[in-house]
């Protein structure tokens, strides 16, 4: 990303232009016309149009001074150097203070065409030749002083002229593009309010556009003096918004610096107004104007330094570009000012600062686009990295989950094993021990033994059923229980009604819940069979609101709850409590009801 090309690129154009300027400044071959202030004004008032060579040409037909031909061979340079045309009544041409020719009023106006003025070689000074052209027409009298120089200027002048033309058209295109960019950026500015960099870019764009427009088009929407104030104030505004832009773009937070530069720019604009509104004598006005220009140049240098210092912190090489471009603009600003003050006069025209500002604008835009592209690339990369990281994390989680699941399974198996052992110990084991004890007692017959053994076997079957996956559904477990019990009940003189088949499929219950429910129901049935002497036994179940209610109802003798049945009841209650179920017992002379409520 940070190749040398990136560092070099933004400097190439400024360096080339600087070299060009240095090479042409005061070059002996450079050609220019210097017009005194008063004469310039006179031309303006008569509707003169300033062309690229800074030679005035009258738009009106009454007075016309055509450009100096620069395609002449050096040897005959002086000859045919000046062409005078139009309805000029009188024209006098002086070369180096010597009258060259005095046209009679008839000779020029009657022709109404260009007249060739030959400058003999003897009149041309070796270094600098001054030509004074004095024209008199119906509208008034005008004097023009020109300086002729010899050398490569005759070849460079057309190039400079063409580049001026291209530059002006380019600036127009550039302005059109900047407005397109502005349209493109407005929604961003709106939607990303927290990123004020776009807002400041827009302000820079708008204010610079006014300044550049002055260069791109000859059309002046206001009177000259007001327009001059407007465009220079726009320049000041664009520099201030540039400072804001750079600070946001580079992520700098420097309100103090912004206030200082803002103050400097404000003061410069005040001086600009003093000069532009002619509030002070001309000399003082020029000084004010000079200070304004110096303020602008200092701001440009400050911005360049700011960018240069920030170049290490940026992710893209834009600050380096900015620093180079700002230095170039400052240089062009110096050239522009020297031009305005008449100190400098190369082959290059004025308006160089306008060019620089346009260049800077395009660079800002390029940097923004580059930044957006860079951000997009970073986002793409980030997404890829995120996906990889996510996949890794997913695998980790999966592995962790597997481990946990295995651990949980192991724990559950251990618990289940423990439960089964306890059940066997308490249930079958206890019953067998009791049997051994009973078997040793005299009078314990085969029938009693068989009965006890059957109880033990039934309990073992309950345990095994409770471990069956199918019996996790208590409705199936009850069905199974019924099928186990029915053959034995069939032989007893009691009518047993089962009302459990209508139950829906129930949510799965833990084996311990199933076993305890079945044992409680079994205990209730056993008690009824043993003690109630009831003609009927109703075993029913209801499923309501996530709760299974099982009822064992006989119509037997009943019993007093506190007497006799303590042990069996206590064990039923204990079983119900251990699985979070509720056991209700009601008994009277007309029967006993045992109800068990289990939440599933």
């Amino acid at each position: 990303m940070r190749s040398r090309g990136h560092l070099l690129l933004p400097w190439l154009v400024p360096m080339a232009m600087l070299l060009c300027l240095l090479g042409l400044n005061r070059h002996p071959g450079a050609l220019r016309w210097v017009l005194p202030d008063a004469q310039t004004r006179a031309c303006d008032e008569s509707g003169a149009v300033w062309e690229a060579s800074a030679l005035p040409r009258f738009s009106r037909a009454d007075c016309q001074l055509l450009r100096v031909q620069s395609t002449q061979r050096t040897a005959s340079w002086g000859e045919g150097a000046i062409l005078i045309g139009g309805l000029v009544r009188d024209a006098r041409v002086h070369v180096n203070g010597e009258m060259l020719r005095d046209f009679g009023s008839d000779s020029v106006s009657a022709a109404n065409r260009a007249v060739l003025v030959r400058v003999p070689a003897r009149l041309l000074a070796a270094g600098r030749t001054e030509i004074l052209v004095h024209l008199r027409s119906g509208a008034g009298e005008y004097s023009y002083i020109g300086t002729l120089m010899f050398g490569p200027a005759q070849y460079l002048a057309p190039i400079a002229e063409r580049s001026w033309w291209i530059g002006a058209r380019g600036a127009l295109v550039g302005l059109a593009v900047t407005f397109a960019i502005a349209l493109f950026l407005v929604p961003i500015t709106y939607t990303r309010r927290d990123e004020s960099v776009y807002r400041w870019f827009l302000l820079t764009l708008a204010s610079s556009s006014i300044y550049v427009f002055n260069f791109a088009s000859a059309w002046k929407p206001l009177t000259l003096s007001v327009w001059a104030i407007a465009i220079h104030a726009a320049l000041a505004l664009s520099l201030w918004s540039l400072l804001k832009f750079f600070n946001r773009f580079l992520g700098r937070d420097d309100p103090r610096g912004e206030r200082r530069i803002g103050g400097l720019i404000g003061a410069a604009v005040a001086l600009l107004l003093i000069d532009g509104l002619d509030l002070v004598p001309p000399m003082l006005g020029w000084i004010c104007n000079g200070i304004f220009r110096a303020g602008m140049l200092l701001t440009l240098l400050y911005l360049a330094a700011l960018c240069w210092r920030a170049r290490h912190r940026a992710t893209i090489p834009a600050p380096t570009w900015f620093a180079g471009a700002l230095l170039l603009v400052a240089t062009l600003g110096v050239v522009d000012s020297l031009h305005v003050f008449g100190v400098f006069g190369g082959i290059l025209f004025s308006y160089t600062l306008h060019w620089g500002m346009l260049y800077l604008l395009l660079l800002l835009f390029a940097a923004l686009v580059f930044r957006i592209l860079h951000a997009l690339g970073a986002a793409e990369r980030g997404r890829g990295e995120l996906a990889v990281a996510l996949a890794e994390r997913g695998e980790e989680l999966e592995a962790e989950f597997r481990l946990r699941r295995e651990a949980e399974q192991a724990r559950m198996i251990a618990e289940e094993r423990h439960r089964i052992m306890r059940d066997m110990h308490d249930g079958v084991g206890g019953q067998l021990v009791a049997l051994i004890g009973q078997a040793q007692s005299p009078g314990f017959g085969g029938a009693a033994l068989q009965q006890q053994l059957r109880v033990t076997l039934d309990d073992l079957r309950l345990m095994i059923d409770s471990l069956d996956e199918a019996c996790a559904d208590l409705s199936v477990a009850l069905g199974m229980f019924r099928r186990r019990l029915e053959p034995a009940l069939a032989h007893l003189p009691i009518l047993v009604h089962w009302q459990t088949a209508h139950l829906p499929d129930l949510p799965p219950a833990a084996p311990t819940v199933v076993l305890n429910v079945l044992r409680i129901v079994q205990e209730a049935i056993t008690n009824a069979l043993k003690h109630a002497r009831s003609p009927t036994l109703d075993i029913s179940a209801q499923w309501e609101n996530g709760r299974l209610s099982i009822a064992v109802i006989d119509q037997g003798a009943g019993f007093v709850l506190d007497e006799g049945h303590g042990r069996g009841m206590a064990s039923m209650r204990e079983r119900a409590r251990s699985i979070g179920a509720v056991l209700e017992l009601t008994s009277s002379g007309v029967g006993t009801t045992v109800r068990l409520h289990v939440a599933l």
């Binding site: 059957r454 076997l457 073992l460 079957r461 095994i464 059923d465 069956d468 996956e469 199918a470 019996c471 559904d473 409705s475 199936v476 009850l478 069905g479 199974m480 229980f481 019924r482 099928r483 029915e486 053959p487 089962w498 459990t500 088949a501 209508h502 139950l503």
Partner: protein
């Protein structure tokens, strides 16, 4: 007990394969005493059972699964492999799905609890002979789960799956209804219910076989995926 029409010999010829001496003796007594039944032999090992069957093929085998020289399931496999017209009732201590379902899948026609009363033993054999089979609620649930579970098999094997009628029946059985009660609820005769149960057993056998074929095909053991 009436003698069956169209059958030669003394009645239903029963072979008992049970290694536990007392059970074997008790079952032998029950069969011997029952009208219309003839005890072919009562043996305690697989080898002896094979020998006995080589001598004379029984109509019904009462088969214990845990034998000293192997599993009773092997004998069922042997019978089914040779397509011998012989029904098997597995003698189970608990009647739990683990032992019973495995035997049914192999081809047993039903199961008998070891502590069944005399009448229950005779009733179970008769039910089997009449084309019925015993179904407990838990086994009904397992049948539903096995046969309803979506499997990735060829469409031709979907035929093994349960019909709506069979599912209804299994649901009744699962809630503990007897065959009589199921018959009343579904408007069927007892024998029809029992034959449904037998058909379900057959489906489970086919299912387990097709599942084995499917798995073998998946493993690349059977080229073409058909036996």
């Amino acid at each position: 007990m009436e003698t069956r029409v169209g059958r030669s010999g003394p009645g239903v010829r029963v072979l008992i394969v049970e290694d536990e001496q007392h059970t074997r003796a008790r079952l032998s007594d029950i069969i011997a005493a029952a009208d219309g039944f003839a005890l072919l032999d009562a043996v305690g090992t697989l080898a002896a059972a094979r020998q006995a069957m080589a001598r004379a093929l029984p109509d019904v085998v009462l088969l214990d699964l845990g034998l000293p020289d192997g599993s009773g399931v092997d004998l069922i496999h042997h019978l089914r492999l040779h397509r011998l017209p012989c029904e098997v009732l597995v003698i189970s201590v608990m009647g739990d799905e683990r032992s019973v379902l495995g035997a049914i899948e192999a081809g047993a026609g039903g199961y008998l609890l070891k502590d069944s009363s005399d009448q229950e033993v005779i009733a179970a054999i008769e039910q089997l002979r009449e084309g019925g089979a015993p179904l407990s609620p838990a086994i009904a649930v397992h049948l539903m789960r096995r046969l309803q579970a979506p499997r990735q098999v060829a469409p031709s094997e979907v035929a093994v799956q349960l019909s709506d009628r069979e599912i209804e029946l299994l649901k009744f059985i699962a809630k503990g209804l007897s065959y009589e009660e199921v018959g009343r609820a579904m408007g069927l005769r007892y024998n029809t219910v029992a034959s449904y149960a037998k058909e379900l057993y057959r489906k489970l056998q086919v299912h387990s076989r097709s599942e084995a074929v499917f798995e073998a095909t998946q493993l690349g053991l059977v080229p073409g995926g058909r036996l």
